[in-house]
Amino acid sequence: MVVSVSPPVAAGPPAHRGRARTLRGGGLVCAVALLVLIMLVSLWVGSKSIPFGSTWSVLWHNDGSADAVIIHDQRLPRTLLGALVGAALGLAGAVMQALTRNPLADPGLLGVNNGAAAAVVSAIAFAGVTTVLGYVWFAFLGAAVASVVVYLLGTAGRGGATPDRLVMSGAALTAVLQAYIGAVLLIEPDTFNQFRFWNVGSLSGRRADVLVQVSPFVAVGIVLALLLARPLNVLALGEQTGKALGAHIGRTRVMGAIAVTLLCGASTAAIGPIAFIGLAVPQAVRILVGPDQRWVLPYSMILSPVLLIGSDVIGRILNPPEELQVGIVTAFLGAPVFIALCRRRKLARL
């Protein structure tokens, strides 16, 4: 496998390198602008049409009018949650792929998504939980337990958690959990009827309470993940070289696993399992900016919420007042772009 730790252009003359950095920095600024824009659109667009001018003024002065209530109680938390969860999914995916050095690794691979799903199914079926707020803690617990089990299984004695082992133990636990979920759903049709809507992944009906519950976890996860950019770059050189360069490989892996669990557990708890973003956005970002994690991580963190919130907006306006779940729109919007990118450019390997 071809591995390069720094972007290919770094080998060029200094002037060229500087220009590439300016280009990437400029791109990042544009991406942030795009994110802000799309968040504004998400506040503005909805089943009740509110003119943009009053959306803007009501946003800053909560005057208690009907419009203000809609925007502050529904659209604002929903948009912020989309931004938070999107960022978390993108980062988790990027870290996961770098950690396992497997481009097919999605954040669900550590068993996080299925651990959360299994816990939610149990909560619905056996504890009679029916609210999104009730799901959150079960989902978190399931995600944490699952990722600890996968990590322990993947930790082979001498070599530490090697990527292949992590992948295999993640796949094994995922299969067991899916079997459990499938069995419960087939035995309890009522549970299935509730679960099928959670399982699609949706932002609808999420209020400020969910946002408040998950944001501390996401915040810690984001800081942790961004701190890992340099160590992950070294990890890409392979175990031997990494060690020779003085990297703490074991520590990087543990920190990475913790970051992924926090980010992915929180987002799955908040809006249900959404696999595609974490898998595809980091992949697409690597095609655009090269393999340097110092760029891949921030880009993934900014572009993922653009895709998530954008999909949510489209899902809302396609067929009002009904909504198309964001998980479905994300895949239909993101996949063609992703496929086109894969066809056109030279592929950056991990």
Partner: protein, 346 residues
């Protein structure tokens, strides 16, 4: 890992390289498969002795036993063996071609394509089981063709194909979820049951296509197995060693896709066999090479064992076998991994 011993065996003009451990693993798997099949044929709501079963198979049983053996248990067992072997070989070939243990047909969209085909038939046309199988077959093959065409760019490159497959799989999964949320609860429930994959209510009609596919395609895959090991060394090395790279890859891909699509059409997407069986076989044989024959045996074994367990635990027509393959295969793989873990510690 110990060094792999290989011994050349030469019978007149045919020579083979044999790895003793792989051979032993293959024989043990075959024996266990045979024993489990015997157990599976004799256990159930009406226990039979082995002698009864053998007599009936040769046409000397009474009408009651004959019905149980040839109408209920034998087709079920045969289907489990055939589908297990087909899925395992399909997974083994794809994992090796893509050089990635996750490159199994469930990950790169072929299975999702079959599911979409079947769901369309269930939800929109309310079709019977024959139509559903046809829908699954068409869906699977069309998806594979789409992935191949989208990924084609001066030849098929494994890595690009995986990525395109993931994109296509995401869209199809979304479409499947959409169909399930839009369907009536009854249709959605039927769809969910199909999606788990099972052997319940399948008879000889479902067996023939799978049997023909396995008889024709498995030897072909085994024959190309050596080339698979060479292809794993990279295109340039393989070319240097005289392997027609593009053609071999196209043939192997076609074989894997067809096996997977036909097996899925017969039973629904049975989870994890395609992913786990080659990995389990590889780990047991402690070989770095793709071991297609033992993978096939392992796949058949996994499915027969899972079927037996579901029948014993949940009753004769209880839960679908797809529930158990994930649980049994997953637990077995976890056990193997944790065993290696302890060995390395100790």
């Amino acid at each position: 890992m110990t060094a792999i011993e290989e011994r050349p065996v030469r019978v007149r003009r045919v020579s083979l390289r044999v790895t003793p451990r792989a051979l032993v693993v293959g024989i043990v798997l075959a024996v266990v498969l045979f024993v489990l099949s015997a157990v599976s044929m004799t256990t159930g709501d009406y226990p039979l002795s082995v002698l009864d079963v053998v007599k009936t198979l040769f046409g000397f049983g009474d009408a009651g036993t004959d019905f149980i053996v040839t109408t209920l248990r034998l087709p079920r067992l045969l289907l489990a063996v055939l589908v297990g072997a087909a899925l395992a070989v399909s997974g083994g070939v794809l994992q090796s071609l893509f050089g990635n243990p996750l490159g199994s047909p469930d990950v790169i969209g072929f299975t999702e394509g079959s599911a979409t085909g079947a769901l369309l038939v269930i939800v929109l046309a309310h079709g019977g089981s024959g139509e559903v199988a046809l829908g699954a077959l068409v869906g699977g093959v069309l998806t594979a063709l789409a992935v191949g065409l989208l990924a084609y760019r001066r030849g098929l490159q494994g890595f690009r194909m995986i990525l395109v497959g993931i994109g296509v799989a995401a869209m199809l999964t979304a479409a499947n979820s959409y169909l399930i949320t839009r369907a009536s609860l009854q249709d959605a429930y039927a769809a969910q049951a199909w999606l788990v994959g099972g052997l319940n209510g399948r008879g000889w009609d479902e067996i023939w296509p799978v049997a023909i596919a396995v008889v024709v395609l498995l030897p072909l895959a085994f024959g190309y197995g050596r080339r698979l090991a060479l292809l794993e060394m990279g295109d340039d090395s393989a070319k240097g060693l005289g392997v027609p790279v593009e053609r071999s890859r196209a043939v192997l891909l076609a074989v894997a896709v067809t096996l997977c699509a036909i097996a899925t059409a017969a039973t629904g997407p049975i989870a994890f066999v395609a992913l786990a069986a080659p990995q389990l076989a590889k780990r047991l044989a402690r070989s770095a090479k793709p071991a297609l024959v033992s993978s096939a045996l392992m796949g058949a074994l996994l499915l027969v064992a899972s079927d037996l367990v579901t029948r014993l635990v949940f009753g004769e027509e209880g839960l679908p076998v797809g529930i158990a393959t994930g649980a049994i295969g997953g637990l077995y793989l976890m056990w193997l991994l944790s065993n290696q873990w302890r060995r390395n510690r100790g």
